[in-house]
Symmetry: C2
Subunit: 206 residues, 2 copies
């Protein structure tokens, strides 16, 4: 039990420090210091700083993909649009609950290195595959050209990422600090409205 706790503590400290100072601006020594553990313990659990970052990102995506898969299955009887709306809510709560980690992962995955390429062909392509399949079901009846669905999907992903792309830009504007869960709830309402608007539009144009 103690082992897991220490390991988790190191991960929490690393997450906060990477978020604030960036991966390169943080040393293993900084992390060990704040977590009050010996540097050698970090080597034992994660090999090195890169291993620590990778563990954070992989854990995040493992749970994230699981969540999307579970939800997609659990909501099988609902209409596609209701399934998508429910998924928006679940995704934004997941991201917001891990606010700093979400921000720092978006930042690190904007680089181009071996690890990022591995993440792209595993988790990110899986996320896109799962979300896009559902998104297409909802949006295809609305659009004329296949290409438009792709652009709308880009827009959709942009909405899900928006609060985490430049977090300090939003700190005072939307009340992040007040309550994370409140923010996720309110913001997912806005994104869900967009989806409904898109579909209503189809009814109008028909």
């Amino acid at each position: 039990m103690k082992k897991t706790t220490t390991r988790q503590k190191v991960m929490d400290v690393a997450c906060r420090q990477f978020f604030l100072k960036g991966y390169h601006g943080t040393s293993v020594r900084d992390i060990a210091g704040e977590a009050a553990v010996n540097v050698s313990l970090i080597s034992y659990y994660f090999t090195n700083k890169q291993g620590l970052l990778e563990t954070l990102i992989i854990d995040y995506y493992e749970d994230y993909i699981d969540l999307i898969e579970q939800q997609t299955e659990a909501l099988d009887e609902l209409e596609p649009i209701d399934r998508l709306c429910r998924l928006i809510e679940v995704i934004l709560h997941y991201k917001q609950d891990r606010h700093q980690l979400t921000c720092l992962i978006q930042r690190e995955l904007s680089l181009d290195n071996q690890f990022v390429r591995e993440m792209l062909v595993t988790y990110l392509s899986k996320e896109n595959h799962l979300l896009y399949a559902l998104f297409q079901q909802v949006v295809t009846p609305v659009v004329k050209e296949k290409r438009d669905t792709k652009f709308l999907f880009l827009q959709f992903k942009g909405m899900l990422q928006a609060p985490y792309a430049m977090p300090h830009d939003w700190k005072d504007f939307v009340t992040f600090d007040q309550s994370h869960s409140y923010f996720a709830q309110q913001y997912s309402r806005t994104v869900k409205k967009w989806v409904k608007m898109l579909c209503a539009q189809s009814v109008i144009s028909v």
Copy 2:
């Protein structure tokens, strides 16, 4: 003339290397090597690597804010919604023309340091101020609560940032490489449609 050319060449090389390998993954020596200039010349123009990054970001935002101000003024006679649509187009073309720089700036400004805080109180708050003023004019008639306008604005900024937040995630999905200008044109169409949809929605609900 030669001076400016060398300076610009160093900036172009730095931009590409920072984009691909990250600010910390790039050394002044790497940049000097690819730009085929002496390291001392980089010190002469930019003091150090941090100075080079800051010059890139400040130049970018100086032109960007100028552009928004000019457009806002030039389009004064248009209806707010048409002004906003025109602005979306201009902003996305600006961002896309400087694709790598846009990506790397979004990444660097997600950190929390002295320079980022300075950028937040100068350029970013100015950008938000200018865009939000116009956005409010367009959207306020549509929404009931002031808070909703803020969430819609977050959504809106998310759309403008989407292609640059995790660029590698989009490389194959939307055809970035085919033509930057074509992409900007097509994607701005999608964002403009969203704005128009929002406003049409108000007509419906009235």
